[in-house]
């Protein structure tokens, strides 16, 4: 069994199960902040999926996208927390 097959058949399904559980919290989350945290974790897991995919197709070019996605995860969390705080202040 090569590394590519192992990652495609064993590691990726584990991560798919993890994404399913995170989606449960993303849909169910009682407050907005729960959904923001679930979205942050979802994007962070997306970085892992991109890294594993770049191993499967043997192309390191995809790691650039992983870096951009990590940036966007941080920016989205900061922006969401800013706007939630601002909405609370305006009330």
């Amino acid at each position: 069994m090569t590394v590519e097959e192992y990652i495609g058949y064993i590691v990726m399904p584990i991560i798919c199960v993890a994404i399913f559980f995170i989606m449960i919290r993303f849909v169910k989350g009682p407050q907005v902040v729960d959904r923001v945290v679930a979205l942050d974790l979802l994007i962070t897991v997306g970085v892992a999926v991109i890294a594993l995919f770049s191993i499967i197709v043997n192309n390191p070019m995809f790691l650039d996208q992983a870096m951009i996605l990590a940036l966007i995860a941080f920016l989205s969390t900061v922006a969401f927390s800013y706007y939630i705080f601002k909405r609370k202040k305006d009330e």
Binding site: V3, A18, V37, A51, S81
Partner: protein, 118 residues
């Protein structure tokens, strides 16, 4: 040998991510959910990116992966701090069995100190 190391590291990272996803579903309140996601996901991503570094064994890939790991390690605590503070201010309840609420005392102190400064 190198293949075995890549397999072990990627499996370890995937299992850390799975534990984080269990935590985000099963933990009782917002603050414990936040703590488990920030810690476990960062560790999982680190393991998987190190596996990618070992697979490609190329200088540009190594620098890119280390930059991603460094960036995640720097930013995820900052994002966690911001979102937890906003959640506290907007009135997210703590778990019933929590025994400590230090931020409450701090905020009350701020409110009581404000008139003296003016």
């Amino acid at each position: 040998m190198n293949d075995l190391l890549i397999m072990i590291l990627s499996t370890l990272g995937a299992i850390f991510i799975l534990i984080a996803s269990f935590g985000i579903v099963k933990m009782p309140d917002f603050y414990s959910r936040l703590s488990i996601t920030i810690k476990a996901a960062t560790l999982g991503i680190g393991c998987i990116l190190i596996a990618a570094v070992l697979y490609f064994s190329d200088f540009s890939v190594t620098t890119k992966a280390l930059a991603i790991i460094f960036f995640l390690f720097i930013t995820s605590p900052v994002a966690g701090f911001l979102i937890s503070k906003v959640a506290y201010v907007t009135g997210t309840k703590l778990w019933d069995k929590s025994i400590m609420d230090e931020l409450k005392d701090d905020l009350e102190e701020d409110v009581s100190n404000k008139p003296k400064k003016h």
